[in-house]
Structure formats: structure tokens, C-alpha cells
Amino acid sequence: MSEKPHVLVAEDNQLVCDAMKVLFGETGHRVSVAGHVAEIVDIAESDPVDLLLLDLGLADGDGFEVLASLSAQGIKPRVIVALTGRDEPEIVARCKEAGCAAVLLKPVPTRELLSMTAALLAAS
């Protein structure tokens, strides 16, 4: 692939955003970060997203609002992976229903995160 895959990190904590930016930026991806629902949807609309890393708790709402807005506007990231601090079965089920390819409990070991997202992107 000539162009770097676009990764959108939807996360409201600056420390985690910075870490993800380094991790994906240094491993051949183009990275955007946003922590507010509207901002995330705007970026996804203007710059097609290959991989959306979606935190479920955001500054002004939750990840499900992002998924609903994207769906309402017909915006489809190639792969959506939910990163969450909560692994209750009902949350995992809701994420899968809303189109997430995987739901991972933070912090995901970086090797696992890179290999899993690479495999999901390759398969999409």
C-alpha cells in the first residue's frame, strides 16, 4: 500500500492520546486524535478513516453516540476497535452490535494491539 492507513484515536485523555499517537505514528500509520463526539465525526467525514480506535468514555458523551452519528451520516470507517476500561459482557455485546470488530480492555499490550489491528485492516 502506497498511502499510510489513517488511524483516528477517539480518546479524551491526553496521556493516552499521546501514547497511541507515538505507537501508531511510529509504526507506519497516519494518526489523528480527537476527544469530543462532534470533532471525531467531523474528522471521519473529511478524512476517511481506516482504523477507528474508539474509547467508550469521551469528554462530552460516549462512544456509542459516535457510532450512532457516524451511522446516521453514512460514514463507515474500515475497521472500528473499541478500547475500554470496562469489560462487562453487556458493553461488549453492545459494541459488537454497533459494528465494532473487536472490543479490547485497556491497556492492551502494544504488540497485541498492533498485530490485531494489522490483521483486521488486512482482512477488511
Binding site: 485523555n13 496521556l15 493516552v16 499521546d18 501514547a19 497511541m20 507515538v22 505507537l23 511510529e26 509504526t27 476500561g85 470496562r86 462487562e88 459482557p89 453487556e90 485497556k106 491497556p107 499490550p109 502494544t110 504488540r111
Partner: protein, 275 residues
């Protein structure tokens, strides 16, 4: 909220004239009930605080561990072996802290009755074998022999796989932790007749330091380690057995132990089979 004088004991005074005693007793009873209500409200707040704080602690820990793994994996350039060892120490410490935060969160959710069970049918011996394998390196580091004695023909259980694994993980972790070098830890499972029908019984035993009979109930209470010398040597949240009991009871099962000081311990829990 008015400040509560927690040092003042709530007692019903006997040294009052007979004609005023009933009014006084009623007043004291009302006061005691008010105090109980206030303490319960405070307990709920404490539980909510624990749940919130443990959830919030995960986020900065995520950043710490992720940055350390980026460095360890050479994503920002190669490191020397000594640098990698040092960074691996940061990662191990971070993950250990994360596990402890996770235990506090599970405890808080349990105390607030926010834990739910996802029922599935599965082979319990698979889970026990998996957990034995996972704990193998911890046991061998301590010089403890870890054995699983699992039957081939155990019926499938109906339970929450992750939560059952959590119970066994906590029991195994404790057994290894409290068993000195040269000792033995084992896991067994069998089907038997319980007070309300057939059940699967899991035993996690050890040849460790043992627990005096007077402490058998205490060990299941939150934040408990039976003596201060034990808590100095064995680190942890002190919530492992409280959580194990909560999770076993959520399944309709029981949990208990047989032990004497210096004679090792055998912890048991049951998972009822659907009747």
C-alpha cells in the same frame, strides 16, 4: 451533612427515672436508627468512590504501560539489554498495579450489587487446566509444585466462565503466595451431592502456613489478612477471598475452607448443576 461523632457509642441508658425512661429510650433508638442510616449512606458513597477511583486510575496507567512497551519493543530505536530489563520492570509493576486496581473495582461493583452473571455452558476442567498453566511460572519461581487432578468425565457446568476463572485465579494466587519453597499446591474438581442437589466442587489446596480455625470466617472479610506479619510478607489488596465469595454466591454456590495453623489449607467452592 452533619458531622457524625463516631467515637460516641450508641447505648441505651439504664440510669434514668422510670417515668422518663420510655421517652428517653425512644429518643435514643431514633438517634441510633438515624446513625445507622447515615452510616449506610456513607458506606454507599465509599463504594461508589472506590468504583470511580479505580476506573479513573486505569487511564493514566494505560499511558504509562503503553509508553514503556513502545520503548521496550524498540519502536523508537534499539535499546541495550539492561535498558530493556529496566523498562520490563516498569511494565510488570504497572500491570501488577492494574490488576490490583481491577480487584478493587470488582469488589466495589460486588458491594454495590452491580456484578452480573453471563451464564454459559462450558467444561470446567478446561478452565482449571488453563489457570494451572498460567500460574505455573509463578509457582516454579517460588519453588512450589503445582498439580491439577482433573477428571475426564466431569459434566459441563452452567456458570460465568470469566468469573469462575476469577475465583480459581484468586484461590491459586493465594495458595502459591502462602506456600513456602518446597511445598505443593493442587487443584481438584468433582461432582457431588450438595444440600440442594448435584453440584460441582472445586478444591484448591496447599501445604502452606495454614490458617487457625478462629480466623476461617475473617479471611473472607474485605481487606483482611489474618495477622500483620502475614500482611508484611504478602502483598495484595486483601480483597481476593471477599471477591471469590461474592462471585461464588452470585452463582448460587458456597465457599469455605478447611485448615489449621501449620497444616496447609484447602479452599472449596461449589457450582450448582441446574436441577
Amino acid at each position: 451533612m452533619p458531622r457524625l461523632d463516631q467515637s460516641a457509642p450508641v447505648t441505651l441508658s439504664q440510669n434514668v427515672p422510670a417515668d422518663t425512661r420510655s421517652t428517653s429510650v425512644e429518643a435514643q433508638l431514633r438517634q441510633a436508627l438515624d446513625r445507622i442510616a447515615e452510616l449506610e449512606a456513607r458506606d454507599t458513597l465509599k463504594t461508589q468512590f472506590l468504583a470511580n477511583i479505580s476506573h479513573d486510575l486505569r487511564t493514566p496507567l494505560t499511558a504509562v504501560i503503553t509508553h514503556a512497551e513502545i520503548l521496550r519493543d524498540g519502536i523508537l530505536g534499539p535499546l541495550s539489554d539492561r535498558q530493556i530489563d529496566s523498562i520490563s520492570g516498569i511494565i510488570s509493576g504497572g500491570r501488577q498495579l492494574l490488576e490490583q486496581v481491577g480487584e478493587i473495582l470488582t469488589y466495589a461493583r460486588g458491594a454495590a450489587n452491580q456484578l452480573t452473571i453471563t451464564w454459559t455452558q462450558f467444561q470446567l476442567t478446561d478452565v482449571l487446566a488453563q489457570l494451572t498453566a498460567l500460574n505455573e511460572s509463578l509457582a516454579s519461581k517460588k519453588g512450589v509444585r503445582l498439580e491439577a487432578e482433573l477428571p475426564d468425565d466431569l459434566d459441563l457446568v452452567t456458570a460465568d466462565r470469566e468469573k469462575i476463572a476469577h475465583i480459581v485465579g484468586n484461590l491459586l494466587g493465594n495458595a502459591i503466595d502462602f506456600t513456602p519453597n518446597g511445598g505443593r499446591v493442587w487443584v481438584r474438581a468433582s461432582k457431588c451431592k450438595g444440600p440442594h442437589g448435584e453440584e460441582c466442587i472445586v478444591e484448591v489446596g496447599d501445604t502452606g502456613i495454614g490458617i487457625d480455625g478462629s480466623h476461617h470466617e475473617l479471611v473472607f472479610r474485605e481487606f483482611a489478612q489474618v495477622d500483620s506479619s502475614a500482611s508484611r510478607q504478602h502483598h495484595g489488596t486483601g480483597l481476593g477471598l471477599t471477591i471469590a465469595r461474592k462471585l461464588a454466591e452470585l452463582h448460587g454456590g458456597r465457599i469455605w475452607l478447611e485448615s489449621e495453623l501449620g497444616q496447609g489449607s484447602r479452599f472449596y467452592f461449589t457450582i450448582p448443576y441446574p436441577s
